[in-house]
Amino acid sequence: MTLKVKSPLEIYNLLPKTNCKECGYDTCMSFAAHILDRTAKVFDCKPLVRDAEKDPKAKEALQKILDLTAPEIAEVVIGVGSSAIKIGGEEVLHRHEQTFYNPTAFFFDVWDTMDDKKIEERCDWVVSYKKFYVGKFLTLEGIAVRCTSNDPKRFAEVAKKVSEYGKPMILISLDPKCMEAALKEVSEKRPLIYAATEKNWKEFLKLALDYKVPVTIRCKNLDLLKSMAATFRQAGVKDIVLDPVTEPVGQGLKATFERVIQIRRAAIENGDKDVAYPIIVTPISAWLLDGDNVTKSYWETVIGGIFIVKYADAMILHSTEQHVVMPLITLRFNIYTDPRTPVQVQPGLRAIGNPSPEDPVFITTNFALTYYTVESDLTSANIKGWLLVLNTDGICVEASVAGGRFTASKVKSLLEETKIAEKVNHKYLIIPGLAARLQGQIEDETGWKVLVGPIDSGRIKGWLEKNWPPKK
């Protein structure tokens, strides 16, 4: 049960109400609505921010807006500067109820008994990793340093070395002495410390306070986990991350699934603020299993996958193999995409497989899913051709034809803008089967001969065999 009073008016009343437009919105009311659905930040109201510096009343208003709009799950920042990441900050249990906000952060481990060259290799890999997806490169967030030497000096040294890569860090050691040694070197980089447990909590609480760093609380028993979190909070620690302990297999993994879900549900449905913190999961635990490395890395991916879908805000991973990283980074993107706005691709012309002037010209919409389906159907069938992408505001073929976003005149402008006529030696345009009814109109408007392709782009290959090159 949520008692947050969420209405734009509430926020509007705290704004300057001058409609000065500095925030980029026409009215304070509209700005308030955008703050509420988290598409704008209160700090964009510069007049209020300026006033807050002098006027205690304005400062109070600002604080109040922040409090009113604080997310259900606390937001914790790890790292500093431009590479700093936020975890948590979630509002809902199911993405369609709003959206998930801060994608699960991936931390890959290094350990301090590794030789320096290997450490550098792994850090370089994290920093340089790139996966092209929907028009941009996906990257990785951070590095987790494990203390396997039990030597404070060595741990501090490696922490320092890793910190130079500028990525957010997790420092992993259950020994307060080792942890403190590392914090002395890198605390200003705001690493997440891992982890306070039932045994060491006093020392870790002190470390979190002394060095002002976010802290993980690790415990399987949820009563105890909650008690520790509340104790830390009361003592003044705000940046808390919960680790309900990832058991990698069997009943244990099942129990982990339950713990993670129960923590998040208690926070959102019961409004239990003592557990309304980001959750960390450790797929690296899969490396405790027996078996070969492929088995372990597959199972690590499975654990990662389960908890990307179900509420992990950060995770510690071990495998740097692509068969682990690529599916997880893609899944994370899919799950954390805002379902309220359709994903679109750039309209224009795409050359598929080095086409020549004789090759066919297709047209589809800029709805990302349609586009990528068509594109991958063409490439996987080894079809060469020209693919025109029409701007339908990210709406699929069927709906855009019905809704007037896929029209003959728009097709005409696209043909002209892309100068496709100069690139091919024919005037045949293949339209999607679902746009069949536009055939005549497009022919009249553009002077191109229009062929109606199959409804499913998976059938283009068979269709081309029969229909291409076109019979004169």
Partner: protein, 457 residues
Amino acid sequence: MKKFTLEEFFEVLKKYNVEEIQGVKIEGDLEIELEGSAIDLSNLLPVMNLINELANFFYHAKMTLTYLQRISSMLGIQIPIQLPLVQPEIKPAVPEIKLVPEVKLPPEIKLPEKLLDLKFKPYRAEWPGKIEEVKLGATKSEGGTREYIVTLGGERALAFYTFDSSQPNLPVVAIDVFDKPPALAKSVKVHYEDVLNDPAEWAKKCVKKFGADLVTIHLISTDPLLENRPAKEAAKTVEDVLQAVKCPIIVGGSGNKDKDPEVLEKAAEVSEGERVMLASATLDMDWERIANAAKKHGHVILSWTQLDINNQKTLNRYLLRRAKVPRNSLVMDPTTAALGYGLDYAFTNMERIRMSGLKGDEDLNFPISSGTTNAWGAREAWMTESPIKDDTPWGPRELRGPIWEIVTGLTLALAGVDMFMMMHPVAVATLKEIFNTLGGKSKFEVKDLDAWINMEV
């Protein structure tokens, strides 16, 4: 439900020792609805509701929230609205929030000696609805020749949320068989090379070697764009497969809207008594003909729509109300898009369908089937290397392909899928292990859970 009047409202305030409300002007009538008939402090829920209602009221009356804070602090209740009751909350030190005054800790902070002793109260979800149970296959006693039947559905909670309600049937896997060699990714093909031209042997291999719970025979040769094999001939393949394996089977058409009704009708005829699933009926074909065939011969029908919950509802309604398909004979395929190629739509669509079913929507509370083999359409699953120059190299595709199918399936399992149509044996085995694990049936165990922290790997 009790209506709350202004007078009673002040009574309540009095009861809670709110003696004075300053600066409040109340105009017009006020009605506050309150669940339960009496406010009992021992029961938190009505009080929380009251506060909730008060909050709404104050909002409508355009007042600030200070009164609320007072009530709640008097009641000793922490309201989740983060109001600065005592001191301003400290925000994490991200650059843009620097403005907020950092509350400095008192120089000599006294660290607690003991942990607080709090109880964690789990949330329990109870859903009014139940997913229909659909049985596939028929044994001798049911008039068929299958060795066992497979039951789908029956959930009363989200997938694997056995802490809300037990899950009577874990998801199952059907492996795909084709009546003519299809285009397959290389890493899939190697496992079927010896049986590609013999659907019966292919089906056997799926069951004996790869642990399929069911097999799907896809009659793709009937496609007018391919061989255009007559429906009658294709039906023979169905008979062969029924002979070859003793598990329940699914019969798929070619996806040709004009031909499939005829093909599935013939298949339904020859498999009478075996309770197969006919895949599939869609909105833009003669669904009624397929539904009638299913009814006539006692089969199950797969209702297939394209990533659209409303269309799914419409087609289900047609099948149930117009074609009178029995409720225990309908399974839905809301379409599976591969990881990276629309999985977000597929996931959310299925999750919404499942939640609607659990909420009691009787047009949507049916088991869900997923064409997980679609995962192989993703280039990450089959291409030898990334076509993008700046990508970190993709690594061996033999390892990428199966995991692409696994993660696609696993994600949709969490959305509520009951049956997976798949192909890669490793993906099948892994997914089954995941179902067993989340279903509480796996016996593996790891003792020292901290060991990864110190491991030198």
